[in-house]
Symmetry: C2
Subunit: 235 residues, 2 copies
């Protein structure tokens, strides 16, 4: 096989990697904007997040089409094939992160203004900051072929779960204090849950990126994703 | 290419299709058992659902490994390649359905006994029945290469969304009536949301199956997945 063919394959793959990075950047921006629109009750910003999701979907389709065309045209083997299949899977997780950010944005008007007391806003914001850092770090870890960093990321997801459990308890307390808070808090609960789930998708991306980079799969037993189902007992 | 090679490729693909069917059967059984364990407060049954999820994960890995080996070994083109990539995606959605059923099962002890009034149990049960029917139908539609049936399934998901909205409102009312219901109802709310999300994954599977069967993608605009974020206003 000539030099030219090899270079073209790498170029095709490079294009797919750029789409992954674009989707990662968009995912991070959507998480940031959806959380800000929620905490500042900014319905115009929320509307932009909802529109951005169509862009995310289009990019995923473009990546899928390119990846499948690449497999058909180049018939890559072993490590190269793994990179292409890994990219398809990572794109699926990034698209889901976009969906979850959109879902947060769609709840902005239902939550309304001043629904969350200051301490609760801080807790949700802290959780969002952790999630955004993870989204940025997993794309950087993939681009830098940083296997150790990717393992670390998966473990870091535990901290998001801990923060989610704290937000969950805070929301329950706030609902019990005053039944008029229940509707808004229920929506905030789903928003917090969405952030926790975005963390899970980052974990999936880290696992796929690790597989692409090393050719090995991470062990099956990953951290539990939702501690509230076992740590919070019914009254 | 000889008769023998063609037959072997079909045999390999047939094996992958059987794994899809097995995962579909297991997914349906997990949804059924998780809902029953929730409504009958059967912690032993819930524990079995939690164990079954490891089996689901193992099957997905087996399917992924077989699919990637098949692509590398046979280098399928066009329609055949589409079938293999479609199977990888369907398996990912089935695995997520298993995760969601497990999450319902994990909430059984937190919800506790007699937490839901009879009318609410009926509503959740009705929703679960619809979801189980969809899981069964999408696997049958894929196996039968029934493109029209698969389109119909995607549209049927709207009915699950309508039922979810009814359950959501019922749960809010119940929480407002008595704050002591809040913790249990919050967990039930997540269970109902999980059922609604399982419906979304069935929709994804239907879309992928349609692509595999017809070579065409369904139009982008699919039904909204969660009406509660727009139809229920904050008080």
């Amino acid at each position: 096989m000539g030099e030219h063919t090899v270079t073209s394959f790498d170029e095709d793959l490079g294009h797919i990697d750029r789409l992954i990075r674009d989707m990662g950047d968009l995912a991070g921006a959507m998480v940031a904007a959806s959380t800000r629109s929620l905490l500042e009750n900014d319905t115009a910003m929320a509307q932009r997040v909802i529109s951005d999701d169509a862009l995310m979907d289009a990019r995923q389709r473009e990546l899928d089409d390119r990846a499948i065309t690449l497999i058909a045209k180049r018939q890559p083997m072993a490590q190269d094939l793994r990179r292409v299949v890994g990219a398809i899977r990572m794109a699926a997780d990034l698209e889901r992160i976009g969906d979850l950010a959109k879902n947060i944005a769609k709840r902005v008007s239902a939550v309304g203004e001043g629904a969350a007391p200051r301490s609760l806003s801080h807790s949700i914001d802290a959780m969002a900051q952790m999630v955004m850092a993870q989204v940025g770090a997993v794309i950087a870890g993939y681009e830098g072929r940083d296997a150790r960093g990717l393992v670390q990321l998966r473990d870091d997801d535990r901290q998001i779960d801990v923060q989610y459990t704290a937000v969950f308890r805070e929301l329950l307390t706030y609902m019990m204090e005053d039944p008029r808070n229940i509707t808004a808090c229920t929506h905030l609960l789903f928003c917090a849950k969405n952030l926790e789930r975005i963390g899970d998708h980052v974990t999936n991306i880290a696992e796929n990126a690790y597989y692409v980079v090393t050719g090995q799969q991470l062990p099956l037993n990953r951290p539990k994703t939702d501690e509230t189902s076992v740590t919070v007992e019914a009254d």
